[in-house]
């Protein structure tokens, strides 16, 4: 009889789920652009698969990420009319810097959570400037204010995001 019983995974299922769930949702929904509800099905399907045969899996985190990436890629192929393949959909996890990629994902996830905690005003100013690439003048025009006001708001909001981000990551570590 094997020394390590098949009924005992190295990491309890709940712990693994909590460690990986955000990253897996990120891979499917954010990176591959799978609609959130379908991404959730893909991610949970990967967990079901893992629970059924974890004894053959050496690195559960990487295994789950690759299963979710493959399933998301297949989803996009099957739904080609509705969703376009993202530019980097092919073999993203074969990247030799995959561990750095995991760090980037963790940072983006934590920042996303930090943006969510901002007040609506801050979020709008940061979003217009950073995501949409609008100039401070354009933002000021849209908001009916001055670019000096927008610059100051940007400065204060970035500061707030950094503080929230540090709080979130400190709690996690």
């Amino acid at each position: 009889m094997p020394d390590q019983p098949a009924s005992t995974p190295a990491e309890p299922f709940e712990t693994l789920y909590e460690r990986m769930i955000s990253i897996l949702r990120f891979v499917s929904h954010v990176r591959f652009g799978v609609p959130l509800a379908d991404a959730e099905d893909i991610v949970h399907g990967a967990f079901v698969k893992y629970i059924r045969d974890y004894s053959g899996v050496r690195d559960p985190g990487s295994w789950l990420v690759t299963v979710v990436a493959n399933a998301s890629r297949n989803y996009l192929r099957d739904n080609r009319k509705e969703t376009a393949l993202p530019f980097n959909a092919e073999r993203i996890w074969a990247d030799p810097n995959a561990s750095r990629l995991a760090d980037v994902i963790a940072t983006r996830l934590a920042l996303g959570a930090a943006f969510r905690k901002l007040d609506a005003g801050c979020r709008e100013v940061l979003n217009r400037f950073h995501e949409r690439g609008e100039s401070t003048e354009a933002i000021a025009h849209a908001l009916g204010t001055t670019s000096g006001y927008v610059q100051l708001r940007l400065h204060l909001c970035r500061k707030r995001v950094r503080a929230i981000y540090l709080d979130l990551t400190r709690v996690r570590s």
Binding site: I21, H29, E40, G56, V67, W93, L111, L154
Partner: protein
């Protein structure tokens, strides 16, 4: 400013609107000299670079989703845990030894008809196949029987096909260790068919490709085996499964070796060395050492080759891997002969032959005997060759191989006594022994008369 550090306000302004700083030059000078402030600026810059990335903004919605597993997943995990635990409880007494297992009612008793039992048997076979091959074969045969009995509604189709795929894949694995490659190929095809009916099957299919490639390699179907080795290596790399990636590399190296592409084989095996040593799984590392040793031997790097063979022997001894150990010992014997230590090499060859015979690995025994006979003939020791053939013929006959291995040995004996044991004759016999492991029932057929000349 040089003595102290920049405050966070100044750093933030410096990053986003440096032109707004009245003392910009002083700040830049400070940053050139102060490592701590430079690191803070770099980390804030790295963080703020992510502000511009659409993925950061798209991540916002994820923050609102629950982080705990849903109840149905928790219950599913618990159900499987209990099923596995029950299977272990039922199987523990049966898996104590081969005899108990063989006399059990596992294949007919419906209490054992669960996917948990299949998983447990597959797991047990993986653990024992290096040391107790025949026992492992009984275990996987039982796993196949049980997996094929699973039916809905107790299990979903995905569960059933997965169990069938797992059982056949491990059965194929064990069969290829026994040398029954034809049956192994059939088994791995059954596994592939089953996994193709399951969801999210990339990993399972990569594992199938590895086993299938290995079987085809052993059957000397190198052209079919090489792409499978490369396909499975790419798959395992993607899953960050270093151990299986190494095994896929070993397969590729083995194929290159057997097709006499020795320099390429050395490159492949060398690439595996550091990952295998880092991973530090003894049996896998042993295979890497042995492969590298064999390839180095062929490119005349005999000192390094011997060093790697010795390391492999130490690992195989430690882990009780008798057949692998004997194969490495055989390689060392050849190396000794090649280096001019003929007496020592011959002794080692005889020891390897005895060990293969003792463990019922007849095709390996036949191949070692041929090598030994060739070396003896080189020294004109005809009587010893005849005696070797006679002894071996008796052993093979006693094992029920009169028309097979024993016939091949008798043929060699006659060729030697007639003085027509040419390299061509040896090659004919060698090809037969290689195929014997693939087709255990294959009768030996003598070559046409003009071939003997």
């Amino acid at each position: 400013m040089k003595r102290g550090h920049l405050d966070h306000e100044t750093i933030a302004v410096y990053i986003n609107e440096p032109e707004a700083l009245e003392n910009l030059e002083a700040v830049e000078e400070h940053l050139r000299e102060c490592v701590a402030c430079g690191e803070i600026v770099a980390s804030v810059q790295a963080l703020e670079a992510q502000f511009d990335h659409p993925e950061t903004w798209a991540s916002q919605r994820l923050a609102e989703l629950p982080q705990r597993p849903p109840q149905h997943l928790v219950e599913h995990a618990e159900r499987l845990r209990v099923e596995n635990a029950l299977a272990e409880y039922l199987l523990r007494p049966l898996l104590k030894n081969e005899e108990t297992f063989q006399h059990s009612s596992i294949a007919t008793d419906r209490r054992y008809y669960t996917a948990g039992v299949v998983r447990c048997l597959v797991h047990a076979a993986e653990e024992i196949r290096d040391r107790q091959l025949r026992f492992a074969l009984h275990v996987t045969a039982a796993a196949v029987i049980i997996a094929e009995q699973l039916t809905p509604p107790a299990y979903g189709l995905d569960d059933i096909h997965t169990a069938i795929g797992q059982a056949w894949r491990e059965h194929a694995n064990v069969l290829r260790f026994t040398g029954d490659y034809r049956a192994a190929l059939h088994a791995i095809d059954r596994a592939r068919d089953a996994f193709q009916l399951t969801n999210l099957n990339t990993f399972d299919l990569a594992r199938v490709a590895l086993v299938r490639g290995t079987v085809l390699w052993k059957m000397e179907r190198f052209g079919e085996a090489l792409p499978l080795a490369e396909e499975s290596a790419a798959g395992f790399l993607e899953f960050n499964d270093t151990e299986r990636w190494i095994h896929a590399g070993l397969l590729k190296g083995g194929i290159l070796f057997d097709t006499q592409r020795y320099e390429e084989a050395v490159t492949v095996f060398q690439k595996l060395l550091v990952p295998a040593e880092t991973l530090d799984i003894g049996p896998t590392l042993g295979l890497v050492y042995n492969g590298l040793g064999a390839a180095l031997q062929e490119v005349e790097e005999v000192v390094r080759a011997a060093e790697f063979f010795q390391k492999a022997l130490a690992l195989y001894d430690h882990f009780g891997m008798v057949l692998e150990r004997t194969r490495t010992a055989w390689s060392l014997a050849r190396l000794a002969i090649r280096q001019g230590h003929r007496a020592n090499g011959m002794l080692r060859l005889r020891a390897a032959l005895d060990m293969f015979l003792a463990h019922g690995s007849m095709s390996d025994a036949g191949l070692v005997a041929l090598y030994l006979a060739e070396e003896l003939l080189r020294e004109g020791r005809i009587t010893e060759v005849l005696k070797l053939c006679e002894d071996l013929g008796d052993r093979f006959t006693a094992a029920g191989l009169e028309t097979r291995a024993a016939a091949a040995v008798r043929f060699m004996q006659i060729a030697t006594s007639r003085g027509v044991a040419t390299p061509k004759v040896f090659e004919h016999a060698r090809r037969y022994f290689r195929r014997l492991s693939e087709q255990p029932e294959l009768p030996f057929i003598e070559p046409p008369a003009d071939d003997e000349a």
